[in-house]
Symmetry: C2
Subunit: 210 residues, 2 copies
């Protein structure tokens, strides 16, 4: 059935073209710039053709969303070599900042926009990429607790808390809410890193009195 196969491939090829075009569009000028018609222009098909490959715009976003998580995983390559779990946690936080600030549009899609989530919940699907990312965090947190680097507590809760912290930093920065507090743009990243540093120092377990 080589014929079926080739067709499948072609179909996937066009799908990929659509996604690539979308990435190009939003990388250039943000998400507002991604329109079905512009995608169609780029891949040199008619706008309606796009609908043969994706149900609607949200489904395109959902697909891009997954690509974003792959990209993010790449940012965490440098973690494997760090044995101290608290250091690893620290680095993980910094990686998160870097990923977010260097890929604002992807970050937007993955953690800020509501649309992709809508698709996932419609499909009864469970945000697998995000889930996977968090379990890595949770594993590290658990290890920190086991080895006495941070106080024992519900790892799920602590992971959620840490994630919220770094997400808060990135999303406030990306949406221009920090400009009043960090005047120069160049200082933004250093300040955010200091904040992560502050948190890590505070949660480091040193045998509290009470």
């Amino acid at each position: 059935m080589g014929i079926q196969e080739r067709k499948e491939k072609q179909k996937l090829e066009i799908r990929k073209q659509i996604l690539d075009a979308s990435i190009k569009l939003f990388s250039d000028e943000g998400f507002g710039n991604v329109t079905i018609r512009k995608i169609a222009d780029l891949i040199e098909y008619s706008p309606t053709t796009v609908y043969l490959y994706f149900k609607d715009k949200d489904e395109i976003f959902a697909a891009l969303h997954d690509i974003g998580f792959q990209k993010m995983t790449e940012f965490n390559r440098n973690l494997a070599s760090i044995h101290n779990p608290l250091l690893r946690l620290h680095k993980m936080g910094e990686n998160y900042l870097h990923f977010g600030m260097e890929n604002p549009e992807f970050y937007n899609l993955m953690f800020i926009m509501g649309e992709p989530m809508k698709v996932f919940s419609e499909m009864g699907c469970d945000w697998k990429p995000g889930d996977a990312a968090i379990s890595v965090l949770k594993a590290t947190v658990t290890e920190c607790m086991e080895k006495g680097f941070i106080a024992k507590a519900d790892p799920q809760l602590v992971s959620l808390a840490i994630w919220s912290f770094v997400h808060g930093l990135v999303s406030l920065a990306l949406r221009g809410r920090m400009e009043k507090f960090v005047e120069q743009k160049e200082l933004l990243m250093p300040v955010m890193k200091e904040a992560v540093n502050w948190l890590i120092n505070n949660i480091e377990y040193t045998g509290k009195e009470n």
Copy 2:
């Protein structure tokens, strides 16, 4: 000049009507539901009339944004009576959660959407409402440090960090990123409060070893 005065008043009156209509629209069905035409319908004017009172849609959002901060201030009425600054900080965090979760559309506008910020920076204006809100936080943080409740550090940095933390919680929750970790909706708020609790416990100064 009673005549000028009355005109001014009428102008403000219509402005207010526009804002009220917008609030009604987004409170009912979210921000996607706010369109110039629907606003016009509600106030029973033609769509273009709206443009006589606001330069564009973003400017309407910017105005609503201010109203949101007033609303938020009301949520913090209960702080005045708390003398212990760490307790006050804790309560402040919880208030923030409540405000965000109970006014998702306002929260969205004030801290997530990019549009209002764009208007502010175009006007060279400096996000005064947000600024004010943060200085309250900063004052509390400073007091906590002075009285030895939390470790001394740059209050600005710590305030930013704490804000990021609670903002992270609220924004992840509002944008459906916590559903995988907190299955039931009723548990969302308790878990978020636990997270705040966790942070407060961790930053409470107890004389660390190192």
